[in-house]
Point group: C2
Chain length 657, copies 2
């Protein structure tokens, strides 16, 4: 997608050259415009144009004859009784006799109004009486999508602000010329209009691209669109640093020169509104977290009145029988997933389906949230079958260990489907989200445009989403914290206090950071302070199921009746696999392959405890635990439930260490 | 203290020049040495010399005639029956006819031994039969103090390693020459001695300072001492990059040239042992944390067999009556502080005293751990009365707000007493430490030498201490986390889940970092990932009393019977003040003064909740809470217990936000 934008920017550069070559093009075209009828091909937008329109982060509107059906200054002149004179002057400007600035200056002199005249003029001609057809609806829908709307007018700020106010556009998003007033000896007020401030970009030739350049300096918009009826609006894409796309509007004034060179020419704003992107969203997975996430997605799809999302959100459910019936049927009837997220009502626009390809057919946004051991199978089925232009996000925590190194889930999606894949990670225990308690997450992205869309998919009043340009960092955090959660569970299960738990968690975060940046040197250390890092670690070490099972494990050892993780998963997790155990094994395999085990004493000790090679109390003596030569001390085979665990090295009682 | 070291280094530089000027000094002095009797002034060490000896982090010993009563190579020659010949050769070396390297080479040729000869020689002459008087005890005591001991020998590694092993010195701490062997056609083993490796620093002239330079490259020792009997040992301080101090040893061979130029000359290692620093430690404070910390300090003072600490540790107790008797008397009788840390036995060498000046008299190490509102009064009493050279550490969490900006407790100590003050901060809930559960802390230092000493004061098998060069960062962490703990308590008291708590804690840590680095730009962001940062935050947000009282506060509001913090402190804290409330008020005063309130929405909302200006449920809507114009919505006066709280703005029910 980046390449399209680049292509479009390139085009702008070419246009700059074109513009320089034909210096007097402006006047010439303006004169020729009204009567000619040029053959057109840009009434239907190309895919390039549509792509930019879909991902525009800022849209700038010209005001006179675009937002409003008339020119405010002409109207004011009429109101002041000098309509005819100003009209003649405008004609002179069109002849090329006067420059833009001179013409404006002359018109102001003729109009010669006082502040009170402007006020009464505005009262007599309120903006709502002059709006072009469809503009209010278009601006509203753009704003609902968090697209920032600007007004860039060659007219005056004093006449434009009331229009902006009606459209809900803040003052700082209005660019126009400012009148200059002087103190009037008679009124003893600054009521003498003496001209206008020539330092505003709109006061100069090529003022609109200059205004847009100012906007771009202050923000990081990746795409900016200019919409207007005139040649000065078209200039927005003809000068470097301006807009990425120019849409000509002919609903009030149809000008041939503009129509000829516009990237897209519309006669009605309804065309633009209809062409706004409507994303189809597919959730792949239906566990507790998938259901809690899909619930937010479906809520957003329904509530987003901008039409950005298809209200129907499809969710792939691995079909199984529950209480004698198909799980998909139960979900669609009861609007609840009684097996994995019981007691939580799901929106009616969330539809459960057992056929993976039916779910993803036509989907623009793919959300992966299946158990991580099934992802590869899912991706194999999807390979070559996703919609062109579709993008993905992964909510899955885990990694894949291969001979040539580890692979993140997002990397697997990108490689197997050939599409961009962001990640959403954070302190997100499903039950809390389902209860709509305050939660936070980050979207780790590579492509910012896609991240913006996913932000709108997930952001809820109770669910704060932050974008960070570190997908691998966020994903590693989400993955590795489950290992540390086991340690936290051991600490809790053995009855140690908060100092010990905090110490183990700190060491855990430290090993997470070190391991992640060693595998992926681009990972940023700030990421570990975000919701996906320390916050998720905290939530998981106090509230998650990895901790819960680890508590039981440690207690069972302490009580002298040790259980295995397999047995505990079966009895406590409804048969679901414990993520932390799988991840610990995956990470340990990497550590072994690379000869790094001793550099990660907590990770190593946890893995040894999991496999009953060490007593759980080693969690608070992890350096010692990692240093023991296991083969000399304990049987490395994994215990079956009911077995007596091999005795680890003799442990000193806690208070003597 | 740094300046002394600098002076001493300067002296080394001067010596380098001196050494270069008298090129042939080495041979000359060696010949002159044995019989002359120079007038001496360095048999008693100066204070400068003692200071360096006290803070030495590495001590390097020459081996032949220093550690052992003879020269191993001479002894080997004798053993091989060529003692006389080697003796003659040594004389030739002393004449200046042969270089150091040539002499060594020639002696090896004469000795002409096989590997098996070396083995049988070593068996016949075990190191323990040849140790100089007092060396084993001295080395042991140095090692007990974590001073790293090196052997730097002009002889051979093969003969030195058994000596090192007996002294518990690891191989990597031995510098000596390595023999070179070749394959012997007859034995078919590498048993032919052909010379020695000239790439070892000790194989060259000025080899000892070169070996020390190598050591210093690999470590960050601030002080290194060389001890030996010969001129090559003295060179260690005569060449830049070498040792900071040279102590001549004359117990085996008394050489006048060495005696003349040594910084300190001893005839018996017992002199060095006797001159080791014995620190007197004073604990100022006797609350729960002070008692738990003093318990560790007293344990260390007793158990450190190096004599580094006076075993008697004095603790200042603000005298009060407890069950009709003086608290100090009860503590000294029962070895327990029943009022502030009941049920925890204190070591008998910890002595409670009511007189502050009696406690600090003669103390080298002052540990401040009183309630932070009393520190100023304590420091006023101590000003001008602490021992010269004494240094301090603060365990106190809090800050002082003054018109000209905030002041940390450590800064107050430094300013009012004129001494260096480190801080010890970490996830250290007193009860957990008293139970000897695994805990961690950092010492934030400005002066590394002092931090090393305090590390030995506090480090316990269950209490991991890490040194970080960021005192202000550690102290700000320890101080600010108590505010966040209140927020955590509100979240818990209102029954929100782990996602919300993690989100609030993450925001808290983020505001802590931002506020700290804004006040003190030198603060390092890594500090917030240490035990004093995220770990302490976690422990305090789950286990501390700030959280506990905040839980009660929020529950009381939720139950419709709101209490004030004053009332809760009285009923829950035995009348002690809640640190978080005080710190929140202090920080808020700074935020108000600087106009920063809106930049710290969580801090601001917490402060408003504390003062009953907002309902506690605003803790999960802190942005909104900080944005409300309080004066318009609620009575800003603090509630008395039993009052009905003013209603804040109408709150939406939780699940609709």
């Amino acid at each position: 997608m980046k390449s399209l934008k680049f292509e479009c920017r390139l085009k702008s550069r070419v246009n700059v050259l074109r513009s320089i070559q034909s210096k007097h093009r402006f006047q010439h075209h303006c004169l020729a415009s009204e009567n000619s009828n040029v053959a057109r091909t840009n009434l239907t937008p190309s895919q390039h144009v549509l792509d930019i329109w879909h991902k525009a982060e800022a849209v700038c509107f010209d005001v006179d004859c675009t937002v409003t059906v008339n020119d405010s200054l002409d109207l004011l002149a009429e109101y002041m009784g000098v309509g005819k004179e100003v009209e003649n002057l405008t004609k002179k400007a069109m002849d090329g006799t006067l420059s833009l600035g001179q013409a404006l200056e002359e018109r102001l002199k003729l109009i010669n109004c006082k502040p009170k005249d402007i006020k009464s003029f505005l009262a007599a001609n309120p903006p709502q009486s002059r709006f072009a057809k469809g503009i209010v609806s278009l601006v509203t829908r753009l704003q609902e999508r968090d697209v920032t709307v600007y007004l860039i007018s060659g007219g005056f700020r004093e006449l434009t602000l009331p229009i902006a106010e009606q459209l809900g556009i803040p003052r700082q998003q209005v660019f126009a010329n400012r009148m200059l007033w002087q103190w009037d000896d008679e009124t003893l007020e600054p009521s003498r209009l003496v001209g206008f401030d020539i330092s505003e970009p709109t006061a100069r030739n090529q003022g609109k691209p200059q205004a847009i350049a100012k906007i771009r300096e202050a923000h990081t918009y990746s795409s900016v669109v200019m919409i207007g009826d005139g040649i000065t609006d078209l200039e927005a894409v003809q000068v470097s640093g301006g807009a990425d796309l120019f849409i000509g509007y002919g609903g009030v004034q149809r000008r041939a020169a503009v129509e000829k060179d516009a990237d897209w020419y519309v006669m009605d704003f309804a065309e633009l509104e209809a062409a706004m992107k409507c994303y189809q969203v597919a959730m792949i997975g239906s566990g507790a977290w998938a259901c809690a996430a899909a619930r937010m997605v479906a809520q957003n799809a329904l509530e987003n009145t901008s039409g950005m999302f298809d209200t129907k959100v499809k969710m792939w459910v691995y079909e199984e029988n529950y209480e004698g019936r198909k799980l998909t049927e139960i979900i669609n009837e009861r609007h609840e997933n009684p097996k994995y997220l019981p007691g939580v009502s799901l929106p009616e626009n969330l539809v459960a389906m057992p056929d993976l390809l039916e779910v993803t057919e036509g989907a623009d946004l793919l959300i992966f949230c299946s158990p991580h051991q099934f992802v590869r199978g899912v991706l194999k089925q999807l390979a070559g079958k996703v919609k062109k232009g579709a993008v993905a996000i992964s909510l899955i925590k885990g990694m894949r260990v291969r001979v040539d190194g580890p692979q993140l889930i997002s990397q697997m999606v990108e490689r197997m489907l050939g599409i961009d894949c962001s990640v959403l990670m954070g302190a997100n225990i499903a039950e809390g989200i389902a209860k709509e308690e305050l939660s936070e997450a980050v979207i780790g992205y590579d492509n910012l445009d896609n991240a913006y869309v996913f932000e709108k998919v997930f952001q809820r009043p109770y669910f704060e989403v932050k974008l960070i340009p570190d997908g691998p960092g966020a994903e590693m955090c989400g993955t590795l914290k489950n290992i540390v959660a086991l340690a936290a569970g051991f600490v809790d299960g053995l009855g140690y206090g908060p100092n010990s738990k905090a110490a183990v968690m700190r060491q855990g975060l430290s090993e997470m950071m070190n391991f992640s940046t060693r595998l992926y040197p681009s990972i940023r250390s700030e990421t570990f302070l975000e919701s996906c890092g320390m916050a998720d670690l905290i939530a998981t070490c106090y509230g998650g199921r990895n901790r819960k099972v680890a508590v039981e494990y440690a207690s069972s050892w302490q009580a002298g009746a040790p259980q295995t993780f397999d047995a505990l998963e079966a009895s406590l997790l409804n048969g679901q696999k414990l993520q932390g155990v799988m991840t610990s094994d995956e990470v340990q395999e990497i550590l072994r392959m690379k000869g790094w085990e001793q550099d990660y004493p907590l990770f190593t000790t946890i893995n040894r405890i999991i496999h009953s090679q060490l007593d759980p109390s080693y969690v608070v003596k992890y350096k010692e635990g990692a240093g023991i030569n296991i083969s000399l001390h304990a049987d490395p085979t994994v215990l079956k439930s009911g077995d007596t665990p091999p005795k680890g090295p003799r442990l000193a009682p806690l208070n003597t260490f």
